[in-house]
């Protein structure tokens, strides 16, 4: 026993410098592996289940599907009641992103460049809307949109999501815009650019990455929200998140289809995440950091 320890001591001694450089250049592989494993396990289980039949899910306990099947995905992609859920979600999410960015761009410019009466109060008031609990707004929204005849339409959900997405977009864009030196604006004005032309031709390309990040976060927060979108829709604009409750039927829960539907909702985020990886922290911190 003691010999073994002594034997191991020497190589351990030799590897220390390497371990130290590794820590300076990066971190502990063990910690990261464990953490990522913790993150991926539940997702793995969802994907695993989505390829199983219900009989296999309920009947046996297997770490990989024994008879991989695409039947669950086929159910979703061939039934309009299912796939329209995705279409509805995409429609209102895109509408919301476009509206949010259109109104947020000039506002963010104003906040980053000018000081005007009440600007700080306004900026704070916007923030409070980002922080407002959707539960507080669920009932009033329901009544508001019913009374103006927009209930169960895509635009209703898109407008409702503006509650938290417009402030978010303004904050993120303002964070990016303050990084652009003011001299550029002044030079452009001296060169005879009008404000709209300067804004679209010169300024927007300069903050293109900021616009991309803001768009991503508007898209995402609208995509992940359920409470408001569920409250404001019944049939025609029903989001996928609400459609998922369909799997609970008289014969119990259709686990395989539920898992497949879940996997399909993860895909949009997973597809674009690579492009915004360096801005994720900035986006979540409302354009600061």
């Amino acid at each position: 026993m003691t010999d073994a320890t002594a034997d191991h001591a020497a190589p351990a001694e030799r590897t220390t410098p390497r371990a130290r450089t590794r820590r300076r250049g990066g971190g502990s592989v063990v910690v990261m592996t464990l953490y990522l494993l913790f993150l991926m396990l539940p997702i793995y289980w969802l994907i695993n289940m989505s390829f199983k039949t219900n009989a296999e899910i309920l009947g046996s306990f297997t770490l990989v599907p024994m008879n991989p099947t695409l039947a669950n995905y086929a159910t979703i992609l061939t039934d309009p009641a299912w796939y329209m859920g995705y279409v509805n979600s995409l429609i209102y999410v895109v509408m919301n992103t476009v509206i949010s960015l259109t109104v947020a761009l000039p506002a963010a410019y104003a906040f980053s460049r000018y000081s005007f009466m009440g600007d700080k109060h306004l900026f704070f008031w916007l923030l409070t809307n980002r922080m407002a609990p959707p539960a507080v707004f669920a009932l009033p929204f329901f009544q508001l949109y019913s009374s103006i005849g927009l209930f169960d339409t895509h635009i209703a959900v898109a407008l409702a999501h503006c509650l938290f997405n417009v402030p978010l977009a303004v904050w993120i864009l303002e964070g990016f815009m303050r990084g652009v030196p003011k001299e550029i604006d002044e030079t452009a004005y001296i060169d005879g650019y009008s404000f709209p032309r300067f804004f679209i031709r010169i300024f927007m390309p300069l903050i293109a990455s900021g616009i991309g990040v803001a768009a991503f976060f508007c898209f995402m927060f609208s995509w992940v929200e359920l409470l408001l979108s569920r409250t404001l829709t019944t049939v025609n604009a029903k989001p996928i998140a609400a459609t998922m409750t369909r799997t609970v039927g008289a014969a119990g829960v259709d686990w395989g289809v539920l898992a497949a539907a879940g996997v399909l909702t993860i895909i949009p985020g997973a597809l674009v995440i690579w492009f915004v990886r360096n801005y994720i922290a900035k986006g979540f911190a409302l354009g600061r950091v």
Binding site: G27, L36, F116, L122, A135, V136, F141, V289
Partner: protein, 290 residues
Amino acid sequence: MQQKTVNNKAWFLVLPVLLLVAFSAVIPLMTVVNYSVQDTFGNNVFFWAGLDWFREMLSDERMWDALQRQLFFSATILAIEVPLGIFVALNMPKSGFWSSFCLVLMSLPLLIPWNVVGTIWQIFGRVDIGLLGHTLDALGIDYNYTQNPVAAWATIIVMDVWHWTSLVALLAFAGLKSIPDAYYQAAKIDQASRWKVFRYIELPKMSGVLMIAILLRFMDSFMIYTEPFVVTGGGPGNATTLLSIDLVKMALGQFDLGPAAAFSIMYFLVILLISWVFYTVMTNLDKKGV
């Protein structure tokens, strides 16, 4: 920080935002205020009730219980997520492919729709078909989140840790990356221990970002609804009925408009207070030029 020009015409640029957010925030909020001071016997006939609903809610155990559970939930997840997030950030590769790789995988839970997060954990924790539930059951631990309040609480807390720790880690990592190499070299010359490097260099440099992370997590956890609702539905009994779940139950389930509205306003005031702290922290950070 650049000097800003004083220009009141900038209001025109802000006007669209103002109108849009006023439409989707002020009108609904006024509706809530309206309901909170009125009573109805149906048929759209309302009469003035003054502050009765507020008095009723304040003396009602139901709201205080929900608030207690909410505070316990928020405190617990902060106590786990913040240290864990910092720890993960310290261990992340600083650059190169593996850094991006970790960033992408870590962000993945953040981008999953909230009800799907609930669904994932609902499935994962089930004793009959879930990996976690099955494993715990096989180990002889009595785990059933639909009947056992302790198991239900453990599930929603682990779920939130799974869902949001990466946010703290990403923000802390962004703070760490902004520390110039010279600081570490100086520490090395002074032969500072790993702990001292963390305590006197990394932690102070991260403090601003961490403050943001803590406030964001506190606020978002304070209004959490979908995830625990999908997993436990507020049960067993009322064991995991947090503020938002209770409010939705009251407003949309039972249509108790008056009490629900009074509840909403008090809820909103708390959020307002925390938002103000958040805003002050943010603007102070901006002044320091971080």
